[in-house]
Symmetry: C2
Subunit: 481 residues, 2 copies
């Protein structure tokens, strides 16, 4: 270890101690009068508070244990002037805290003993616990997340090759699929209005629906994993996607206030009403929709908690790295809620930057354009700035490669270096969203680049909400599954 | 690696190829007429066949991967003249095969689509699938086993200290306990006849029942882990316990034949009838009992399969080691079936040698007698024999230690070495069942010792069946929970 070892970021002890009574209050609230409409939601907030505190505390304390173990879980930060060993795979700690919370939460969400605390009838929808068939969905989701953790950690330890990694999320999604099948899960999709004349209003995808579900897990997991390489990028994306999912879920809960957004003024043919004792937000009184979105909230709130705790230590300049484990866990958690709570199309809308990055990466992933070991931006130490990294192109180029590169350059997605004498393309910037930002915004500091990424991710979510709640009204009616 | 590297045991390819159509037949059988009474049992046998084939094939192929990885998962065999690195932690491969089978099996055991194949009414009990509430028990059991795998592997990788290891099974049992609680699992126990005057026929243990369940997982896991150290001992014990559980389960299935054992001739006041279309074996027509024991069979058959595949490579002289992972997985699987299928007392009877070894070890585990790092028997290379290993006692001895050692020596559980001049005890043989065997049977070869252990384990199971089905009639009536 070098002498200029960068110290772990100090833990804000006062904040942690201050949060303990807050967490404890959330645990006590369901047992106090008046009993809230959804008592387990308070318990979930309590667990999330403790998950945040635990992650914030455990990550810097367990980092050195992983670094100094015989597995030597550490790495150099490629975009820094120093060569200190930075503890790696701390996603394992996040996963452990997350799964512990999810397991301990089971009696609060599913046990009928919670029911005895709400004897009085109240107006509107109140949900003391989720139905027991949701318990098997919950458990199968946890199994999938746990298998993703296990495989992510094995990947960190054994360095599984890129092509062998791709099917890992499919393996992890098997518990999800088998239980979905055993419970005769819905495999129908709602047909957009313009196609209803041909296909009818519902189409049963049958086995294809299972293919769709496993592809969704593969996409959610790997798309986060390939948009990586700068401090805070993996956990930052996960955090914003999780917050977007939570915002979407909250719109379906039975809020005590009534709020109607005059969306029709913006051109929609529907009115969007949020809240109202009987309407239960966007669920319009459907108990099933409330339960589905509660299910999703129960997975997302602790995820936001562990990601927030982790990002504190992973933020530029990073004191710890997440490893593949974090990408697998968060990706699988998103796939799980999208599938089980039936909003996979909305979920995909929150992945707009990931989809862009994936599509942009395809020529390199599928070998049309050569792909180097690392595609992270290039760090110029003297300026402390990141530049787009370039891949060297071995001559002669295949015609397909030349054509693809010329097209990408025309679309301003890459920048080519052309030999002035011969006119052949010698270099191209790597096809990632990070290099794309640097291409258009000029060289940036690493922390600025991650802020750009997070801003774009947040802007993508805003766009997603517009598409989902304004534009979708043009191709779908209210009949959602 | 030394030159005299011992080669992996050759895989019996012909056997493996021959087993493939056997496995395939088990998969097809439920779809053929006449439909069997329990179609999923055939599917389970099919999965078990493939699990056996996969383990037998994968263990020697993945062993070198673990050995040569950066984690360096290998160890020296302490009881051999050679120092070759033997691949360690292959229990991970067993666990992976086992859990994959268990997950893929879900639609066959719990899906109502199996029902359509058995439209005809038949005599007696026929179970096309288990009820859905058992699905959450099944999933929570899988979660517990998976957490045990994860923690076992972390233990192998990070070498967790002995005292920190003890609570690991408690953590792994939490999914089991929380789901048991959420489903309002039974916490009553049947009171033995002599105590019914005082306690009534049923006592509700309440929260104590959960303590009992977590202690059972801790015991089942750690007791296998401490009876270790010679080739084949861990997996050998697990195999015989699993076979005993299977034998016990089979007695409760609806067999087509009728067989009555004249147990009353041996002094029991009851007749034991096995089989009969309506009686469903020992279940006496109780569908619930059949379902519980099916649940147990579904966990035990694939476990026997992976253990059998593994023992082939782990048998003396061992080509691979199981690592802690295997002990955790098998121990947790036993705890799970004992708890979920409600035969924990019977299960404990199958652990007689482990209980003996644990009680014998207590003075060393709790520091009354000093405990060295390893307590495996001593290998004398020139004779190729194992002798009881001894612990050196630092002077002066505490009075408690002296008293305990003298008592143990009187009971012939240890042999003391006394200084002829001063009369003080200088050495004592280590307090394990393996040293106990060597003390009484004389020095043995390692393969003989493991055969002695397995014979004792099997004899313990015979005793367990006598206690359970003959002697238990004296203190319990037929009213079992």
């Amino acid at each position: 270890m070098s002498n200029n070892a960068i110290k772990p970021r100090p833990i804000p002890t006062l904040l942690l101690i201050g949060l303990l009574p807050v967490g404890a209050w959330f645990f006590c609230r369901p047992f106090m009068e008046p009993v809230p409409a959804i008592p387990a939601l308070y318990t979930c907030l309590g667990f999330s508070t403790f998950a945040f505190v635990s992650t914030l505390y455990l990550v810097p304390n367990l980092g050195p244990v992983l670094r100094d173990s015989k597995v030597k879980l550490y790495g150099r930060d490629l975009l820094k002037p120093y060569a200190d060993p930075i503890p790696e795979s701390l996603g394992l700690v996040c996963a452990a805290v997350y799964i512990s919370c999810m397991v301990l939460f089971i009696p609060f969400a599913f046990s009928s003993s919670m029911r005895s605390f709400s004897t009085k009838r109240r107006e509107g929808i109140s949900i003391t616990e989720l139905p027991l068939y949701q318990l098997s969905l919950y458990l199968s989701s946890l199994l999938s997340i746990l298998i993703a953790t296990m495989l992510g950690f094995l990947d960190d330890v054994f360095d599984i090759r890129w092509r062998h990694k791709l099917p890992i999320p499919i393996i992890a999604s098997i518990p999800l699929l088998t239980v979905y099948y055993a419970e005769r899960g819905n495999t129908q999709i709602v047909v957009p209005l313009p196609l209803r004349g041909i296909l009818g209003s519902l189409v049963d995808l049958g086995p294809l629906y299972y293919v769709y579900m496993s592809l969704l897990s593969t996409f959610a997991t790997n798309s986060i994993n390939i948009l990586a390489g700068i401090n805070g990028s993996e956990v930052g994306q996960a955090l914003i996607i999780a917050l977007s999912v939570i915002l979407n879920d909250l719109m379906y809960l039975p809020w005590p206030m009534d709020l109607r957004i005059p969306i029709h003024l913006l051109g929609s043919n529907r009115e969007v009403g949020v809240g109202g004792v009987w309407s239960a937000g966007m669920a319009y009184g459907s108990r099933e929709l409330v339960e589905r979105h509660l299910f999703s909230l129960y997975f997302m709130l602790p995820l936001v908690a562990v990601c927030s705790g982790f990002v504190y230590h992973n933020w530029y300049p990073a004191r710890v790295f997440p490893g593949d484990t974090l990408c697998y866990v968060t990706g699988m958690a998103f796939a799980v809620v999208g599938i089980q709570a039936h909003f996979s199309k909305t979920l995909l809308l929150f992945f707009i930057p990931q989809i862009f990055n994936f599509v942009l990466s395809c020529p390199q992933l599928f070998g049309i354009v050569p792909c180097p070991r690392h595609r992270v931006p290039e760090f110029r130490q003297e300026e402390n700035l990141l530049y787009p990294s370039r891949v060297e192109l071995k001559q002669p180029l295949k015609p397909l490669t030349t054509a693809a590169l010329r097209l990408l350059a025309t679309l301003r997605l890459t920048r080519l270096t052309v030999d002035a004498k011969t006119g052949v393309i010698t270099h191209a910037t790597n096809l990632t969203i990070l290099n794309f930002f640097l291409l258009h915004l000029g060289p940036l500091r690493e922390d600025t680049l991650v802020k750009v990424l997070m801003t774009v991710q947040a802007a993508g979510s805003v766009l997603a909400f517009v598409v989902r709640y304004v534009l979708a009204g043009l191709v779908y009616d209210g009949d959602r599954r």
